[in-house]
Symmetry: C2
């Protein structure tokens, strides 16, 4: 059975819960409070030297880090990761976009507003993060004029990856009503069979 | 024939040149000076609304962004992307590590030192970037105690992705002699058949 080390309120960790519930795959969940240092302990660093959740552990002890790499591994051979080479490439394109352009703005704004004190110096990063995150949503809004979903046109792991922090972007101070196609896409993701919301 | 829009001195763009030269695949290269605004023109934004290079364009007009997604697309079915599901997962793990943890520190430090004036306010980011980049090299050094390469143990696209900005990390102020296994791995990458260095 798969074991996931993760924090329930982390979008990166929720991605795996979301996919595994859609697949109906049983798994063990080990809570790791990454917001309060639990990923920097010697015990956790022995599991993942990069000190991050989520982490997938197989029964034989093999370990895999990076939420989007885990999504692809779990979805391989299922309809959630296209077999067609071009559609698979487009799926990966959006997953790298999510980790490089979207998450470092949208998730970090949420982290600062939800977990740091109101007088923390990192609050000063918020205007820049709101600008960068808004540009990421612009790119998504543009793509949604042509396709209903991000995983090569169909629903799949790129949608799960992008849903994770887009659906809770208001926590970071974003007003998603500026991106109506993004709002409609969020509804389409929530309508997928087996969808379960993020626990917060 | 593949067309690559890119900037020669960009590590993200060099990744594609490196793989295509190893594969012996012919391609067209369109120079885009992203350091001086050429990715923000209306003409380029019509090609890639995210305003970034590299961009792959197929003969039929289809376009693919994100360097590591392009690497996987070009390497699919070749020895540079493992067919084994676990090795492929590990390869993707390192490619997401590269874009999320490594590149935003190592490449950005290089950009600030190489392209911004000495009195630019972003020079103040360098100490933080050197610390974060050093931690990324620590994680690579740890992994290289067990494996010779990052693409599921063998040489492949994860090595090309990580080589791109590691080999020129001195440009950003890193002293790679602190990570001897990383230095030895760079040499092993350079010894691969068909390897061509980055033009700077």
């Amino acid at each position: 059975m798969f074991t996931i080390h993760g924090m329930r309120a982390s979008g990166n960790c929720y991605k795996l819960q979301c996919l595994l519930d859609m697949l109906g795959t049983p798994y063990r969940w080990v809570d790791v409070d990454s917001a309060h240092g639990a990923t920097r302990t010697p015990a956790f660093l022995a599991l993942n030297p990069n000190g991050k959740v989520p982490l997938l552990v197989l029964d034989d002890g093999r370990r895999l880090a990076e939420s989007n790499a885990i999504l692809c591994f779990l979805a391989d051979g299922t309809p959630y990761l296209p077999a067609d080479p071009w559609k698979r490439a487009v799926t990966l394109q959006w997953m790298f976009f999510e980790q490089y352009t979207h998450e470092p703005a949208v998730a970090v704004a949420r982290f600062i507003r939800m977990w740091l004190p109101a007088d923390h110096p990192r609050q000063a990063e918020l205007p820049t993060l709101l600008d960068k995150g808004g540009k990421a949503f612009d790119v998504m809004e543009d793509a949604l004029a042509r396709d209903a979903f991000f995983s090569g046109g169909d629903f799949g792991v790129a949608d799960i990856a992008l849903y994770a922090y887009t659906h809770c972007a208001a926590d970071g101070g974003f007003d998603l009503s500026r991106w109506p196609r993004v709002v409609a896409w969020l509804e389409r993701v929530r309508a997928q069979p087996g969808f379960t919301p993020m626990l917060t």
